[in-house]
Amino acid sequence: MPDVWHYQMVAAVLFMIGIMGVLVRRNVIVMFMCIELMLNAANLSLIAFSRLWGNLDGQIFVFMVIIVAAVEVAVGLAIIIALVRNRDTVNIEESSLLKW
């Protein structure tokens, strides 16, 4: 039987994949997906800990995070669409008007 710490390992790995993705990838949409991966890693971790402690706080937290993530997606996509309409690129390195 997998115990709580197995789930924590998976969550930690997912979280690291998310962080590396944001730091390494240069496509805004992909970076964005990696951020969602980070949030979901935290969700998995919360659920597993909720099981460990036998209280529901962690699960309630996850509901809130799901909603927040959805709202973030909506606003983020809108921002990216506005940028693409003006710039025609989703590569973050071409966004370089603002420097120093």
Partner: protein, 519 residues
């Protein structure tokens, strides 16, 4: 099949304690509907409906909501603490003296921002009515953030604050700079909230509770899991206050965002995030404060130094103010790590003063915008004392105050902060706090160079262009006057002001509240 019966009793709710929050929430819900209704009408009360008129109406309505909330908050601030929780059975927020003071500061910042936004937005061609609803939604998040004592509320309110601001940063949607600014802020901001959320998950796993106070009773500074969670949570919050090394986004975002939004971000977001940091450190992480002290010390010292040094080489006023806000985050962090309540009450006063000086400076820049373009290079200010004497005067006052020159309020604020650090260091015999205060004083000296460059350019150089027609709206004049006056008055009578207006020394109330929160 037998259904499990949940044990539940309806909690007793005290809506009176959260009346300012309810007012702003109602405004945030109603404004989009009013905007959509007005923009579908050809005429309203036999008056033709134009974009400018809608903008004016919406700013008027939102100011009324914010002003009512401010009145309610000030009323609560002036009565001695009646400790009634909104929901005593499951406390998520604490509407105490600290929260009320921070909320009042946030509301002041929001009101001033909204009053100066109308003409600026029309000028840069972004006069959409959603602006006001977004500001109100964000203010609601900030108010909750400053009061939250629970990790769930902390996360949700932080996002409620940030998400409208991502949209506001990109509000000039035809300007590529604004788009880029919004995108950077969005990516970095949500990355930071991802880190923070994972930290919260680890803290929950380590202690089994989401309430900050319960976490404080179980926090074990020896355990790696506890410290990792605390560290990630703090990283998420330091991103929001733009402290080094998590500051890279601030200059880009402040430069690209509409100027009024930059002023709002620099002040209100910082106030709310410091409120959250204050609660997290004093409630949840108090047992581990010694393990985190070193890291916070380094962050404070680095923020002051990097912020001030980088500000010296800027040619854009908005970027310069962004680096200056990073430096001020460093000064404020000194107050946060000073043990005892002296540091906390110094922070409260500093945040209030900082709000007035920064909104004043950003408002001057926003007034200068012309023909869909920001005039935000330092060279654009040349000879402003001849062209627009009032603007030049207010800008000079704000710069002197930001630099911390007596008798302006910025001096009083810094003085209290450094005094608290030095007092604590002599009491505890801990020289590291003394060193931090010394670094702070040295940095203030360095900052004179770039702050004073602005008055020098405005007063000593000849104007390079023709005088603009004075298109300032009455509200902008009012806000600039209030900022300059507040900077003078708070500098000369820092405590008396509050006594005159509300028969109570608010700073004393807040220090008392801060003291009562500490173990």
């Amino acid at each position: 099949m037998e259904t499990s019966v949940l044990e539940f009793t309806a909690p007793e709710l005290h809506f009176g304690t959260i009346s300012p929050l309810l007012t702003v929430a109602l405004g945030a819900v109603l404004l989009p509907i009013i905007e959509a209704y007005l923009s579908r009408r050809k005429s309203f009360l036999s008056r033709p409906v134009t974009r400018v008129w809608i903008g004016f109406m919406l700013s008027f309505i939102s100011t009324i909501f914010l002003a009512i909330a401010l009145m309610l908050t000030l009323g609560k601030l002036s009565v001695p603490q009646a400790e009634v929780a909104f929901n005593a059975a499951h406390p998520m927020i604490a509407m105490d003296g600290t929260a009320h003071f921070l909320i009042a500061t946030i509301l002041l910042s929001a009101i001033m921002t909204i009053l100066v936004s109308g003409r600026y937005l029309a000028d840069v061609g972004a006069n959409y009515g959603e602006y006001y609803a977004l500001v109100l939604a964000s203010v609601l998040g900030m108010m909750l953030l400053a009061a939250s004592t629970n990790m769930i509320m902390l996360f949700v309110s932080l996002e409620l604050m940030s998400i409208p601001i991502y949209a506001l940063a990109g509000f000039r949607r035809l300007s590529v700079r604004s788009n880029e600014s919004a995108m950077k802020y969005f990516i970095i901001g949500s990355f930071a909230s991802g880190l923070m959320l994972y930290g919260m998950a680890l803290l929950y796993g380590a202690t089994g509770s989401v309430g900050l106070a319960e976490i404080g009773t179980k926090f074990d500074p020896e355990s790696v899991l506890h410290l990792l969670g605390a560290g990630l949570l703090l990283i998420g919050l330091t991103f929001k206050i733009a402290a080094v090394p998590f500051h890279q986004w601030a200059p880009d975002v402040y430069e690209g965002a509409p100027t009024t939004v930059s002023g709002f971000m620099a002040t209100a977001v910082k106030v709310a995030a410091f409120g959250a940091l204050f609660r997290v450190l004093s409630l949840a992480l108090q047992p581990g404060i010694e393990s985190l002290y070193g890291a916070l010390w380094v962050i404070a010292a680095l923020s002051m130094t990097v912020g001030n040094v980088m500000a010296m080489i800027q040619r854009n006023v908005k970027r310069m103010l962004a680096y200056s806000s990073i430096a001020h985050a460093g000064y404020l962090l000194i107050g946060l790590i000073v043990p005892g309540s002296g540091g906390y009450s110094a922070i409260m006063f500093y945040l209030l003063v900082y709000t007035f000086m920064t909104i004043g400076a950003f408002t001057v820049i926003s007034v200068l915008a012309k023909d869909h373009e920001d005039k935000d290079q330092i060279d654009d200010l040349a000879g402003l004392s001849v062209l627009r004497p009032f603007l030049a005067f207010v800008m000079a006052v704000c710069m002197f105050s930001l630099a911390g020159i007596p008798p302006f309020a910025g001096f009083m604020a810094k003085f209290q902060l450094f005094k608290a650090a030095i007092q604590a260091s002599t009491e505890l015999g801990d020289s590291s706090l003394l060193w931090l205060a010394i670094i702070g004083v040295l940095n203030s000296a360095v900052s004179l160079y770039y702050y004073l460059r602005i008055p020098v350019v405005m007063y000593m150089r000849d104007p390079e262009r023709e005088a603009d027609p004075d298109s300032m709206a009455g509200f902008e004049r009012l806000v600039l006057f209030v900022c300059a006056a507040a900077v003078f008055v708070l500098g000369i009578f820092p405590h008396d002001v509050f006594v005159i207006f509300w028969d109570v020394d608010v700073i004393a109330v807040v220090s008392e509240a801060a003291r009562s929160m500490l173990p």
